[in-house]
């Protein structure tokens, strides 16, 4: 298997970002928690900055590298609502998402995060398999 350089270097940047946030503010770079905290936690400033940075960083990569924008997601608005509700409900109930559990939590060898990551990947794999089988 050849190493995919863009995904690998993108991953390195994500890891670096997580480490900088831990080093400077002592915080876990878990996007679900940061987004919810931006609306509910009095310590709002760094969280809003992080969200603006996420959007601006994405825009900057396309602007400076000429990487084409990905096509809009495939699916109905109803599906977007249902999937968004599940992602929001699930990440709050499970205390984290791909970044908080998958990148930061495994990085600090949290058993909860290792279990959560294995479970949400398995649930995602099963969901895609079922949608491909019944709808694809």
């Amino acid at each position: 298997m050849t190493i995919a350089l863009s995904p690998l270097s993108g991953g390195l940047l994500i890891g670096l970002s997580s480490m900088l946030l831990l080093l400077t503010l002592g915080r876990i770079a878990g996007v679900s928690g940061i987004v919810w905290g931006a609306f509910t936690d009095p310590d709002r400033s760094w969280r809003l900055q992080f969200i603006i940075g996420l959007i601006a960083g994405t825009a900057a990569i396309h602007a400076f590298t000429g990487k084409p924008l990905p096509p809009a997601a495939d699916g109905s608005i109803l599906l977007a609502v249902g999937a968004g509700l599940l992602v929001g409900f699930g990440t709050r109930l499970g205390s984290g998402c791909t970044s908080g559990h998958g990148v930061c939590g495994i990085g600090r060898r949290s058993v909860r995060s290792i279990v959560a990551t294995l479970v949400f990947i398995a649930a995602g794999v099963a969901t895609v398999a079922l949608t491909m089988y019944f709808g694809g």
Partner: protein
């Protein structure tokens, strides 16, 4: 520096997501489609990120405190409980149905697609509903 560290770390994170192709729902669905035409890219993204955090986290946490705050704010929960597993199952289902987890969903707001805006609003409503359900543990316990 403390004043803009949130912005700088967000920029790096967003750049990483876009560079790696994770803001494309088709690539994420492709990774989860292990019984079809599997796309390994997300595995490379996770590998790159984990190399850094697995090595970096113990080094950072060996300090007594972060640079710009009095203490590290780390989750306190240590037991694997039903909330964690049920939450991960529901999240994984939504992730597989659409192809976005929270990071890429917010980052992809840069593209201005209405469906991404709808997804993000629904995600916030889902988070609110989870709180209303009384099932979540408090932020302090997390």
């Amino acid at each position: 520096m403390r004043g803009i560290t949130g912005l700088l770390t967000g920029l790096l994170f967003g750049a990483g997501l876009a560079l790696s192709g994770m803001t494309d729902t088709a690539k994420v669905i492709g990774f989860l489609n292990v019984f079809g035409g599997w796309d390994p890219d997300l595995m490379w993204v996770m590998s790159g990120a984990l190399v850094v955090t697995l090595i970096g986290t113990p080094l950072v946490l060996s300090k007594t405190k972060p640079m710009f705050d009095a203490a590290f704010s780390l989750p306190l929960a240590t037991t694997v409980d039903r909330r964690l597993v049920a939450g991960a199952v529901l999240f994984g289902m939504g992730w597989g149905l659409w192809g976005y987890c929270p990071g890429p969903a917010v980052a992809a707001l840069a593209y201005g697609d209405i469906s991404t805006v709808v997804f993000c609003i629904a995600m916030l409503v889902g988070m609110w509903l989870a709180g209303k359900s009384g099932l979540t543990i408090s932020r302090l316990q997390q």
